[in-house]
Symmetry: C2
Subunit: 255 residues, 2 copies
DNA sequence: GTTGTACGACGTACGTTGTACAACGTACAA
DNA sequence: TTGTACGTTGTACAACGTACGTCGTACAAC
């Protein structure tokens, strides 16, 4: 496997799986299928949610659904396509409440919050490259349609709407990815951020000339000391979301 | 290897390497070292720049510098530490011109442009998680110090300066990561974006009800048709950078 | 009822990854 | 001259995705 990204399989085969394969005719030859595609995807989702993206191995998925490793390949062409199905299933499961009469700023904030909740529930999604060539399944389509509707009556052009949505989601993705990376760092290295910081500070103190980096020492120690804590993550979220919406406000205009 | 992220090694050993290891005493026992740490890092950088992050294998690095695979481990504790050194070396190589009398918006735009150039020259950097627990070497420190200096006389607090810089760099990273993912998609799958789009459109056309997703069809086809092209990437960059600076302007205040 | 055939399941195997380990040779210190 | 510390290397292992071949099953045709 080269990398974790969507859209690496044959489009027609992937699309058939995404949209529920009409080849699910009840009468087939051979022995009956012991599980379903949904069960396979569900097992992969469970593994990813519980133990991270690296825990998704074909063998592990197979064991979780109760078949042998190679049998998984009769349900899914390969691991890339399985990733596509997982992503679309996640999007499909999001709750989508109609926008009502709220203003655009409230709507966009809701989009950001909802996507953040999604990425907190499924942190591995921040590691998957699903922006170019997303899996064009029902989940992705419904999510895209719903989020585009939030831009109704903003006066933006179609191109700007797409750009603005991409920009907003890009911020959410970047933020959640950083938060997820920070969380993983503590678990992967069995070393808390405080310990890591202290260990580095001790060596750094006599390794380099503090006067050469006055701002870095002053600002970095203040900002780095609290890094990794939930409080810091929430502060960064509020800061970034406010900046992002302010930036879009300059384009849309207050109303 | 679990994942590609920095800061996974023992801090003291990593820091010693980053800051030039005073254990480079001329008189050692045993046979002389056949290469240097810099050569190892340089070989890894060359591989990554030419063939992507996945091309960095210990065996490939070893072959490029002309030693056996296991000999690399006498220069670098392991692959995570090698990544740390690569990241710091990239940052150290950036050109840093003093800020002069330019306004904050011009300075921040320069930060964004410079970082974009860096990520275009080394696309694999967008795949490395180096935000939490960055390698605290001379390159990272110099870059951090220089970019913090761009916020002199903005009136922001230390905490806000760090948050604003993180926010700005987050946008650059997210944008370049998307661009890099899109570029990789065409090379990895031996299928151009146009082909992929056409193949999907053909199947999608009869697979789902277009009237259920009016906005997605209208806006998506317009925006998706040109996706992946350099022109689209540049448009997204200009759009995002303008939004980001506008958002920060609401915090800093025009001047 | 018999047989042909298509298909699901599975075991084995290959190449690739990071790196632990032990053997071997080298060059300085005593 | 000898002991010792260290660089180099080959071998080996576990885990990964998945190609391939075999086997058994259940429907279709007769």
């Amino acid at each position: 496997m080269a990398e974790n990204s969507t859209g690496r399989g044959e489009p027609s085969r992937t699309l058939a799986l995404l949209w529920g394969e009409p080849t699910e005719t009840p009468k087939r030859k051979g022995p009956p299928r012991s599980v379903t595609v949904d069960q396979v995807v569900g097992a992969a989702l469970g593994l990813a949610d519980e133990h991270g993206l690296a825990a998704i191995t074909m063998r592990a998925v197979a064991e979780r659904v109760g078949v042998s490793a190679m049998s998984v390949y009769t349900y899914v062409p390969g691991k890339p396509e399985l990733l596509d199905l997982m992503v679309d299933a996640c999007y499909a499961g999001m709750t989508r409440t109609p926008w009502g009469r709220r203003g655009w700023r409230s709507r966009l904030a809701a989009i950001a919050d909802t996507n953040r909740e999604l990425l907190v529930a499924h942190p591995w999604l921040t590691e998957v490259a699903a922006l170019s060539r997303p899996p064009l399944g029902p989940g992705v389509m419904a999510k895209y349609e719903h989020e585009l509707a939030a831009f109704d009556n903003t006066g933006l052009s179609d191109v700007d709407i797409d750009a603005a949505l991409t920009y907003l989601l890009g911020f959410v993705q970047a933020h959640c990815r950083s938060a997820h990376d920070a969380a993983r760092a503590t678990t992967d290295t069995a070393m808390s951020d405080a310990e890591w910081w202290a260990a580095n500070q001790a060596v750094l103190a006599r390794a380099f000339d503090a006067e050469s980096y006055p701002r870095a020492v002053r600002i970095g120690s203040a900002a780095g000391g609290a890094q990794g804590s939930a409080w810091a993550a929430d502060r960064a979220w509020e800061f970034g979301l406010a900046r992002t919406l302010d930036g879009l406000a300059a384009l849309i205009g207050e109303q």
